[in-house]
Amino acid sequence: MTATTHHEIHPDAEMLSAFVEQTLSAKERGDVLKHLAVCARCRNVVALAGEAAGAEVDASRHKIVQPRTWWRSWGLALAPAVAATAVIAIYVRERGVERTAEVAKLEQMRAGERPATPSQAAPQVPEQAGPTPASPAEKPTPTERPGEPARRATPKKQTQVVFFDPGGGKGGPILTTKEERELERALKEPASPTAESHGSMGAAHAPSGAPPDEKTEPEVALYDEERIKHAEEAAEDRRQFAAKAPMSSSDHGSGSDKAAGGAPGNNEPVDVSALQLEIQPASTAGHLQLHGMRSMVDIATGPSSFLLPSGRPAVSIASADHRTLAVDEKGTLFLREDSSGTWEKVKQQWTGRATVVRRRAPESGATGAMPAPETGESPAASGALSQPGTVFELVNDQGQVWISADGRIWTSQ
C-alpha cells in the first residue's frame, strides 16, 4: 500500500490494476473493495483506468473495422442495386446473344436449304429467269456444298437467296439490327472469286466455284446422306404445306405452285436481300448447314426450336422495328417486342388459321423479291430494318391477307 499522505492510505497501482483484472485473491479483493467503498479517490482511479481500458478495446475494434466514409455508408444500399443491375445486364446480353445466334442459325439454315435440295439451287431470278422445275426426287450431287451460295454472296451485289416461300416471296426483314449484323457476317464469309455471279444462283451453287471444303471425305459422305434424307423430308413437307395453304393472288399463286410442287424445281428463286430474309415454316426447312460455322445444324435447333408460349413451335416468324411476330402451328399469333423480351398473344382479328406472318414488301419492291442493299453497308446504317410505318402481313389458311403496322391491330387487306 502506498501512503500518499499522512491520513490517506490507498492501494497502490499494482493492487488496483490487479483488482480490475480480477487477479487478486478473495481476501485481497475484499480489502480493495472495502477501500473503494469509502475512497472516492481510488474509485475515481479505477473508474478512469477502466475507462481507458475500454477506450483501448474500442480502438482495437476500430483497427479492424475502419471508419466508414459517407459514400461507403451507402454500400449496403448500393450493393444490391449494383448486383441487380449486373444480373439484368447479363441477362439482357445473354438473351441478345442467344437470340442473335438463334436467328443467325435460322437464316443460315434457310440459306443452306438450297443446296440441300439441289433442284432448288437452280439459279433463278424472277425477272430474269423463270421457275425451273425440278424433280423432288432429284438427288444432290456429293460435290454440292450447302450454304455456299450464301458464302459467295458479295456484299456489293444483290445477294440472291433462294428459299421456299409459301407466302409468295414477300418476306420482309425479320431481323433486328444485331441479328442482321450476325447474318451479314455469316453471309460475308470468304467467297470464292468465281462466286462473283450475280443473279444466278446456279453460278453461286456451281460446284466448281465452291471453296475447298474442310471436311474429310467420310464426313462429306455422311453429310450428303443426311442432306439427301432431309431434302426428301422437306420436299414432302412442302407438298403437304402447299396443299393446305394455296395462295390466292397471282404472286401467291406462284408460291403456291412452288409449294404445291414441293419439288425444288418449283421453288421460284426470289431475289431478296440477304438481310431481309424470312423464316419459313419449320416443316419446310431441312437439314441445313450453318455457313458461318461450316457445321451441320439440325433444324431441330432452328425454327422449330422456337417454342412459343402456347407450347408449340413457330411456323412463321417476321420481325421489323424491334417487333417480332410468330405464328404457331395452330395459327396463334404472338408478338414480342425487343424492349420487353416476352411473347404476348395477339387477339385474333382474322378469319381462319393464320399460317404465315411476314413483313410487307415495300411498294416499290418487285413482287416476290425484296430490294437488296446495294452495298455491304450495315442494315442499321441503311435503315432497311427500321423503316417507319412497317407493315406486317398475315396470311390465313385461305390465302387471305391482313395487314398491321404494329402487329397488334390487324385489318383485312
Partner: protein
C-alpha cells in the same frame, strides 16, 4: 514443475515477509525459480539469475503470495501465486528498470501508443493526455531522482496484473492526484473535504434521527453494495464504468444497485421505526429533504480509511 509431495517439509507458517525468506529458499523454491527463469527468458533481457531470484522472491514475500499476512503459504500456494504472475511483463519491467536498451525498445513498441491512448482517454484531452503520458514516460525512464538515486516506478510493478493495466492505473493515479491537488486550491470542494463532525452541525431532530438511521443502514451493507452506492450516487459513475471496474455486466450492476437501494431504504425505515417513529412518520422523514440527506450521505461515505489498509500502512 515440482510436485507438492516433493516439498512436504516446506514451512507452514509465515509470520512475516522477512521471516519467510529462509524457508522460501528451500528446494521447492529453487525448483520453482528454475522453472520461472526458463519460462521468462529473463536471460535474454540481460537479467542475472541472482537478480531474478531476488525480485521474484521479493514479489512473493511482499504480498505473502496473495494470502493473509498471518497465513503461511504452502509450496503449492506459492507455486500458484507465481504461476498467476505476469512473468513476461514483470521481467520486461525489471529489465527496463535496469536500463536494458533492448527491453526499452520492446516496451516502447508494445506500450507507447496504448499508453498515449490511455492517457488521452483518462484526461479527455489530447494535449493533457500526451502531457500526462510524457510525464509518466519520463518517470519510467528514471529521469526523476530521489535521494540521489534514479527511481523507476517500474520497480514497484510486481506482475499481479498486466503491465499495461498497471500503466493505465498509474496514469489514472497521476491524473487524479493532480486534479485533487488543483481542486484543493479551489474554494468549493465537494469530494475530498475531510469528513466533518456531524455533531458540530445543527440538524433538526428529524434529520439527525434520519442521519443516524442511514448511517446504521449503510454500515450493514457489505463492501460491494457500499461501493455500488457510492460510485453511482456519489461519484455519478455510469453503470458501464462500474461494470468495468467490477468486471460484470451492466445489467448485473443495475440489478445489484437496485437491490442495494431498496434494502438500504427498508433498513432506514426499520431503523427509524426502531427509534420510535411510526411507519408513516418514518416515511415522511425519509422523504423530508433529499438534498440534506444527500449531503449527509456524502459525509458518511467519505470515510477514506479502512481497517485493512490502515493496518498495512502502519510502519
Amino acid at each position: 514443475m515440482a510436485s507438492a509431495e516433493s516439498v512436504a517439509g516446506a514451512p507452514e507458517t509465515v509470520s512475516g515477509s522477512e521471516t519467510a525468506l529462509p524457508d522460501l529458499r528451500g528446494t521447492m523454491h529453487r525448483q520453482l525459480l528454475d522453472e520461472l527463469w526458463r519460462a521468462s527468458d529473463a536471460a535474454g533481457w540481460g537479467l542475472e539469475r541472482e537478480e531474478f531470484d531476488r525480485f521474484m522472491t521479493e514479489a512473493g514475500i511482499a504480498q505473502n503470495f496473495g494470502l493473509d499476512p498471518e497465513v503461511a503459504a504452502t509450496p503449492r500456494q506459492q507455486m500458484e501465486f507465481f504461476r498467476g504472475l505476469r512473468l513476461n511483463d514483470l521481467v520486461l519491467a525489471r529489465a527496463c528498470a535496469a536500463g536494458n536498451d533492448r527491453a526499452w525498445e520492446q516496451f516502447i513498441s508494445l506500450h507507447q501508443k496504448p499508453l498515449i491512448r490511455a492517457a488521452i482517454a483518462i484526461t479527455g484531452s489530447e494535449t493533457l493526455g500526451r502531457d500526462l503520458a510524457d510525464q509518466l514516460y519520463a518517470e519510467l525512464y528514471g529521469l526523476n531522482m530521489r535521494e540521489g538515486e534514479r527511481r523507476c516506478p517500474l520497480l514497484s510493478y510486481r506482475g499481479r496484473g498486466s503491465l499495461m493495466s498497471w500503466l493505465r492505473t498509474t496514469l489514472a493515479q497521476r491524473h487524479v492526484d493532480r486534479r485533487r491537488r488543483s481542486r484543493r486550491e479551489q474554494p468549493l470542494e465537494e469530494i475530498d473535504v475531510p469528513a466533518a463532525d456531524v455533531s458540530q452541525q445543527t440538524p433538526s431532530s428529524e434529520l439527525s434521527q434520519l442521519e443516524q438511521a442511514i448511517e446504521h443502514a449503510l454500515e450493514e451493507r457489505n463492501a460491494e453494495e457500499r461501493f455500488l452506492l457510492a460510485a453511482y450516487y456519489l461519484d455519478g459513475q455510469t453503470l458501464l464504468q462500474i461494470a468495468r471496474v467490477l468486471a460484470v455486466h451492466e445489467a448485473t450492476v443495475s440489478r445489484k444497485l437496485r437491490r442495494a437501494t431498496e434494502d438500504t431504504r427498508k433498513q432506514v425505515l426499520r431503523n427509524l421505526q426502531r427509534d420510535g417513529l411510526s411507519r408513516r412518520a418514518a416515511e415522511e422523514t425519509l422523504s423530508a429533504d433529499p438534498r440534506d440527506l444527500d449531503v449527509k450521505l456524502k459525509k458518511l461515505l467519505q470515510n477514506s480509511q479502512t481497517e485493512a489498509f490502515k493496518e498495512q500502512a502502519a510502519p
